[in-house]
Every structure is written in C-alpha cells, then in structure tokens.
C-alpha cells in the first residue's frame, strides 16, 4: 500500500467514511450538514440515502426515515442553495423532494415534454445560486432546459449542442455554460437565446467533454474533463479556444472536479487512479506543468467529488460503495 494511503488512514481524525450497501455515484451536501448519496444500481430500483454529519464526533449518521426510493440511478443530486432542505435529482425527470423532520416528501416531477409523458433523459442539472428558482437541466436530446421550479414551468428550452449535453453550470443569474459529446463548451446568455459562445473545443474533434465546473469565486474560470483523459482543462472565458492550463498529474482518467467554495485558486479532482488531488493554480505555470498541492488516496476509483460552500473545510468523495468526507 502506498505510504500516503497508510498515513491518511491512520489519521482517522481528519476523515469519516460512510459505507453503503450499494455502489454510490451522486452526492450532495446541504447547509444543514446533511448529505444525500445516490446509489448506482443498473436497474430500476435505486435509493437515495440521507446522512447527518457530526463534526464533533466525526460521524455520519444515516436517517432511514428520510431515505427514499429513486427510479434508476440519479445522475446528479443537489440541495437548494438556500435554505437547503429541498433536494433535487436528475434522471428520467427533474424531481424535487422536501426533507422534513421524519420523512422526505416528493414535491414535484418536472417533465419538459408537452407531447408525451416521457422526458428525454437528463444527464445533469445545476441550481442557480443567485436565482434559486432557476434550475438548468442538460439532456441527451441535445437540449438544455431552464426551469422555474417555483412555478414548475419551463422558462426556456434551448438546443444547446449538436450531440448529447453532458453537464451544465450556471455562472450568473442568467448565464450558463454546457459541455457536450460534441466536444465543445458553450456559454449561453438568457438575454440572447439565439446565440451561444463556444469557448473551448476538444483538441481531437469529437472527444466528448463529460463534466463542467464553473469557478464561483472567479467567474472567469471554468474547468472541464474529457473522455478517457487524465487532463483537467482550465478555461478562461476571456481567452476562448486556448485553455489557460491543463492539469495532468492524474495517473488515470479524471471522473470529477470541484472548485473550492471559498478560494478562487483551488480545485479538487478525483480519478480512476483512486486519487483526489487539490490543485492550486499558480501565478505562473512552470515549464513542466502544474503539480498538485496535495493528494489523498482512496481505496478505489473516485467517481464523485463535492466541495460545498456549506462545509468548505470538507471535501466529499465517492468511490465504490463508500462516501468519505475529507478534512481539507
């Protein structure tokens, strides 16, 4: 075993583990120290479990009363930016749940298709922090849909890409970006829905971009990851097409990225090499590329990374059937 793994596992006062009966993928952290984890089971019956994190005792306590069944694995989970007791999930539909004292109640199932009972499957969504009534969803039908979740109506639906849209992220109240299997990152402004700006295209044409993270502390920067690539591409929206940095110290493909919630210069990534790396974007890149600042070695491929403003001192990762909170 790697010495760093040993070291971090011995020092158990700086991380806490939750072990689930299922493989875990999606995950969300609320401002009430609640953590939602979504199972990844390749069949209809899936589960979302709600845990409560106690920083004093370093425990993750499951709340079986709040856990609920979910049709198919959720592709993403996210809590309402404020107050945080509403949970959204994406999958066959965009679903909203409210977490009560002793139960979780479904609020709504949002379907953007007027013509049928079925909505094109959703790959991801993002809750607008500045305008919490807005949720943007990305779909395999090449569209992004902007919802007014308070009214439960579609605000607008845009054909965003040439192929499946894989992820969406808000920048401002009316500006969002999306990544797609067509290999592009596009930025949309709801004030001008006719146009979008391509700010990056993957170097090999048609290399799909899988996930996108917009730096909420410094909106000039966003990060994306490519299919079968160990790179994290850092983009500056002011210099389209050329990435400002490419972080390539992972030993396997990257699965997840999350910007630090309170610093504009730090980003955490998790990959197939079982490592979570924290990067500090330097003032000046050295000739040999950028080295990460610190690392954590998990027991398996890391599939999820969450770094929430609700708990900036903790990074959540998911690997195999485990979810861990790591002290930063």
């Amino acid at each position: 075993m790697d010495s760093s793994t040993l070291e971090s596992q011995i020092r158990s006062d700086n991380f806490v583990t939750y072990e689930s009966p299922y493989t875990l993928y999606s995950m969300a952290i609320s401002s009430h120290r609640q953590i939602a984890v979504g199972s990844f089971i390749e069949e209809y019956a899936n589960r979302v479990d709600i845990l409560t994190f106690d920083e004093q005792t370093l425990t993750l306590k499951p709340n079986p009363n709040l856990s609920f069944d979910h049709p198919y694995p959720p592709t993403k989970l996210m809590f309402h930016p404020n107050p945080g007791d509403i949970l959204a999930s994406s999958g066959d539909f965009l679903r909203l749940y409210t977490l009560r004292e002793n139960s979780t109640q479904p609020i709504s199932v949002l379907n953007n298709s007027k013509s049928s009972d079925f909505c094109a499957p959703l790959t991801s969504f993002d809750w607008n922090q500045l305008e919490p009534r807005r949720i943007g969803t990305s779909s395999i039908d090449t569209t992004c849909t902007i919802w007014d979740v308070e009214k439960g109506v579609v605000e607008t639906q845009l054909i965003a890409h040439d192929k499946e849209v894989h992820d969406i992220a808000w920048g401002e109240a009316g500006v969002f970006a999306s990544v797609s299997a067509d290999g592009s990152v596009r930025v949309f402004d709801l004030r001008d829905k006719e146009h979008s700006t391509i700010i990056y295209e993957s170097p090999q044409p048609d290399t799909p971009l899988l996930r996108l993270a917009w730096n909420k502390q410094d909106l000039r920067y966003m990060a994306t990851i490519l299919m079968d690539s160990n790179k994290i591409v850092i983009l500056d929206i002011r210099s389209p097409t050329l990435p400002v940095a490419e972080l390539e110290r992972h030993k396997g493909s990257v699965n997840a990225i999350a910007w630090a919630p309170v610093s504009c210069q730090h980003i955490c990534s998790g990959g197939d090499d079982s490592q979570a790396l924290i990067w500090e974007l330097p003032t000046v890149a050295g000739p040999n590329g950028i080295d990460p600042m610190s690392m954590y070695t998990a027991g398996a491929e890391i599939n999820q990374v969450q770094w929430s403003a609700a708990m900036p001192d903790w990074i959540g990762i998911a690997f195999a059937n485990k979810m861990q909170l790591l002290k930063v």
């Binding site: 499946e164 396997g252 974007l281 000046v284 600042m293 790591l326």
Partner: protein, 532 residues
C-alpha cells in the same frame, strides 16, 4: 549604465558578496530616463536556494562551478520577476502557458529569494531610502537590524538584517545579509577592494582610510536625517550618524530597536509618508499583492501551506512513477454509464412500456401461423362434436363441453354395467388413428346401439371405419354416399359378426372437392341412420 558590461558587473558583485559570505548584492543605477532616481540595474544572489525537495545552503565556494550556479540562479530570478511583471501588467495572475516561461515559479523560492525578487521592484529618488540617502550623502551606510528599521529609513524591512550601501560608479552598491552583522570596516574594505579593483571610469572618490573613523556609537543620539525623515515614534530608535563630509564621509545608521515589529510586510505597506513614499508603497503593495494574492496561506488559512498539512486528510503531493493506471475500456466506467447507459435505461423503459401498450391491442391478431393452426384444430374439433348448427367458435366450444359431459355420463353408466359386453365392442371405442379425428367413442348403449363412424383424413387420403347393425344394401348406400362426396374408394374391408357390420373403407378425395371429415361423417350418419 547601458554601456556597462552587465556581466562583468555581476561578476564583481558576485565576488564581493561571496568573499564576505553575505546573501546578496545589488547595484542600483541612476535611471537614464528619470534623472536622480535609482533603479535596479543588476544583482547577485548568494543565498539559500530551494529546490523542490530540499533546502540547501549554498556552499560558499569561489570555484567557477558555484559561481556559474549563482549567476544562473540570479538570472532565473530576474526572469521570474519579468514574468511576474508581464503578468501583472496584463492583469493576469493565472498561468499563461503560451508565454515563454520562467524557469522558476514562485513556489520554488526561498524567503531570501523572495526578498531579492521584491527588491527588483524598487526605485529610489535621491535621498529616499537607504540607497537614496547613500547617494545623496555619497557615503557608505551600514544598517544593522534593518528588518526592524522604520520604513522611512529602510523600506524593505522584510528579511535582511544587515545592509550596507556605498556609492559606485553612477549608482549605489548594496550588500545584504539575513543575519545581524555588526559594523566591520574590514568587511567594507574587502568588498570595496573587490569591486573597485578595476579602476572605474567615473570616480566618486571614497577615501577608504576614513573607514577607521567609523565607530559604533550606540549612545550618541545624533541624527541629521531628522530634517528629512520622520520616523515612527512608537519605535525606540537611535540613530548614529557620523558625517565627516558630504563628499567624503562614512555614514553609519545604527538602528537599535527594542520593540520588534511583528508584521514587517504590513508595516511597510501601511506606512506611507508623502506622495513619493506612498507611490513606492503602493508599488510595493501592488507587487506583494500580485505575488501573494490568493495564496493559500492568505485565503485558506495556514494549514494550506505546503509543508503544513496537519489536521487534513491530504498529504503533500509527490511524484511517483507508477505509470498510468490504464484500465482501458474501464476508464471512467461509472461516469460513462451515468452519461450513456442510464439514459438508455430510461429509453428502454419507454420502449418497453410502448410494447406493452401495443400488446394489449395485438392480442386478437396473432401470428399468421398460429391463426392457421388454431383454426385447423377448431375444424377438427367440429368434425368430432355433434353440432347444433351454429358454426362459430364459441358455439363449437359450448357443443364440445356439452358433448364431453354426455360422454362422461355414458362412461359412468357403462362402467357400472358393462360385464355382459363383448370385449370387442369396447375395443372399437379406441382411438386408433394417430393425429386425426378420432371418432365418436363410446357408442354403445345396449338398447339403442348407436353407430360408430370414424373418419380420418390425412391430406386427401380418407379412411372411414363404420361399425353398425347390418342390413341389406347398407354397403351400397355407404359407397354411394361416399362417391357423392367425390370420394374414390379403393379398398373396402367388411365383416359381419352377430349382425354387426364392420366396414373399413380407404378412399381418396378427388381434387375438386372441399369435403371435410365432418361433412363425410354427417353424410354417412344419415345413410346408416336411415333406418331409424
């Protein structure tokens, strides 16, 4: 200074600073564009160098190798400064990989190197700061405890504890050291000898013999700098200043400071004095902010410092060469499944429910073959069951049910009183044919012996077996009936036992006919039953 051979200058500085084992030497030259202003011209860094893994004290060695290394490091630091400057001018502090890169990045620097780097940002007008005052007085200045000095005396109170300045050519040479060194005329002599060993073209006469006059005057409070310098009264400072002559003097600023300043950087930044000062302070502040902006120590707290990862689950990143974890097709397995397979699962469910819906409609229209088979079975069934005339399937099934019930009753009654019966009679009830129409099975009621007719048809070959009470002409009538149904009989076996006729006729249907087994049977029943 443009005409000056910078390389030679740097060599001289190197020799001088290394001979006394101090940290750095800087030559401030009078700016060609701003007369009277001292700006960075060249320097030599002789301090600690940090590599990625270790901090090693540079060996003090006059050898050429070491010399080259120091010169190279100095050059790298200069490049880094210039890179930072470019970055700041374009208001970028993010990496700019498209630009030629400095060999060093900020995190590679030791504190001393930082200091050296920060010095590059300074400029001094005449009388300002230690170099400026040295120029103004044209004297040698020795400053101890420079890190504690008031910012007006020595603005860069970050690291260097001992700083010496003296005029040289059209500028000022500054030597610095991170440790406190008490004033020593021998050091000054040694340095000046090395730097002046080649007689300069423009000579500012500095009589070295006067150096012996330099003393450490801690107790003398004499400060003619007060006229131009106001210093912070909060700090107990005493200035010793011996001024023999403006032209030929040695100046010693001695600084004793009993109250340490805990935050040199902020002190520097905060202490503005007049326009000139604040300009420099702003500049200094700008550089520092540029360099330190958003570093983890300021933003995320001290635990984010590279070497201070206590209390975190993360450890310092280190390179290890295990090669790529190549899991080929398994790369990003779950992520790809989430993006590509899970949506398919939804779609499959949609498709599946559609099929389910369609199935409901489809139940009546089965596969063509199935329909044929079923219809065929129905026709066979109808040939066996006495019909009440209706031809639809439901009626046929009703007839069949009724008929089976009748038969069951007959079987029961027969079983109860069949002892007197001939074996052969029951034998005739067997279904003898393989797949086709078996016959009316149990006929025989004692009182009213019903007839037994079996018609089996295979393709166009029809076998008819009749068992009935014998009477005259019955065979002729049967054969007539069959020929009227377009059947060509080619083999007839008959026998009569106890007045019962057993008749087996094999025949072939003529091609034009559409007679079914049922029609044949009905026709024969009529023939046989005429008598009754």
């Amino acid at each position: 200074m443009a005409a000056m051979d910078n390389y030679n200058l740097r060599r001289k500085l190197a020799m001088a600073v290394k001979s006394i084992q101090w940290s750095y030497a800087i030559f401030w030259s009078i700016s060609s564009t701003q007369p009277g202003v001292l700006t960075w011209c060249d320097g030599y860094y002789n301090g600690d160098i940090k590599t990625r893994k270790t901090i090693q004290a540079e060996e003090i060695d006059d050898g050429d190798d070491d010399d080259d290394m120091g010169l190279q490091r100095t050059e790298q630091l200069r490049q880094l400064y210039e890179t930072l400057l470019v970055a700041s001018e374009s208001h970028h502090y993010e990496p700019q990989p498209r630009r030629p890169l400095a060999a060093l990045s900020p995190e590679d620097l030791t504190d001393n190197e930082w200091y050296f780097l920060v010095c590059m940002t300074f400029e001094f007008s005449n009388g300002q700061g230690l170099p400026g005052r040295t120029l103004a007085k044209n004297t040698t200045s020795w400053l101890c405890n420079a890190h504690l000095a008031d910012s007006k005396v020595f603005m860069r109170s970050l690291l260097a504890k001992t700083v010496v300045c003296f005029p040289y050519l059209e500028g000022i040479v500054e030597l610095g050291m991170a440790e406190k060194v008490l004033e020593d005329q021998n050091i000054i002599k040694q340095v000046k000898a090395l730097i002046f060993n080649v007689p300069p073209q423009t000579v500012l006469k500095v009589p070295l013999e006067n150096c012996s006059n330099m003393l450490d005057h801690h107790d003398i409070v004499y400060n003619n700098l007060e006229s131009m310098i106001e210093y912070d009264q909060n700090q107990e400072q005493s200035w010793q200043f011996v001024d023999d002559d403006d032209e030929e003097g040695e100046t010693s600023f001695h600084h004793n400071n009993s109250t340490g300043s805990s935050d040199c950087m902020s002190q520097n930044i905060a202490s503005g004095h007049g326009d000139v000062w604040s300009d420099d302070d702003d500049r200094y502040q700008g550089v520092l902010l540029r360099i330190f902006k958003n570093t983890q120590s300021l933003i995320l707290g001290p635990r984010f410092r590279h070497c201070d990862l206590k209390g975190t689950a993360f450890v310092s990143w280190k390179y290890y060469d295990h090669g790529m974890v190549s899991n080929g097709s398994c790369s990003q397995m779950i992520l790809k499944k989430v993006l590509y397979k899970v949506p398919k699962m939804h779609e499959n469910r949609l498709a599946w429910s559609r099929v389910e819906n369609e199935n409901l409609d489809q139940t009546s229209e089965l596969d063509d073959d199935d329909v044929k088979n079923i219809n065929h079975r129905f026709s066979v069934l109808s040939s066996l069951v006495p019909s009440r005339g209706k031809v639809d399937k439901v009626s046929l099934l009703d007839d069949t049910i009724e008929y089976l019930k009748t038969l069951e009753r007959k079987v029961e009654s027969l079983q109860s009183n069949n002892k007197s019966h001939d074996e052969r009679e029951s034998m005739c009830d067997n279904y003898r044919k393989k797949r086709k129409a078996s016959c009316d099975p149990k006929d025989l009621q004692k009182e009213r012996i019903s007839d037994c007719i079996t018609v089996s048809a295979i393709e166009r070959d029809v076998t008819v077996e009749i068992r009935c009470r014998w009477r005259d002409n019955i065979m002729v009538q049967v054969l007539d009936a069959m020929s009227s149904l377009n059947m060509e009989s080619h083999s007839v076996h008959s026998s009569t036992v106890d007045g019962m006729l057993t008749l087996t006729i094999e025949s072939k249907l003529k091609s034009s006919t559409t007679s079914t087994a049922k029609m044949i049977r009905h026709a024969l029943q009529r023939v046989i039953g005429n008598r009754y």
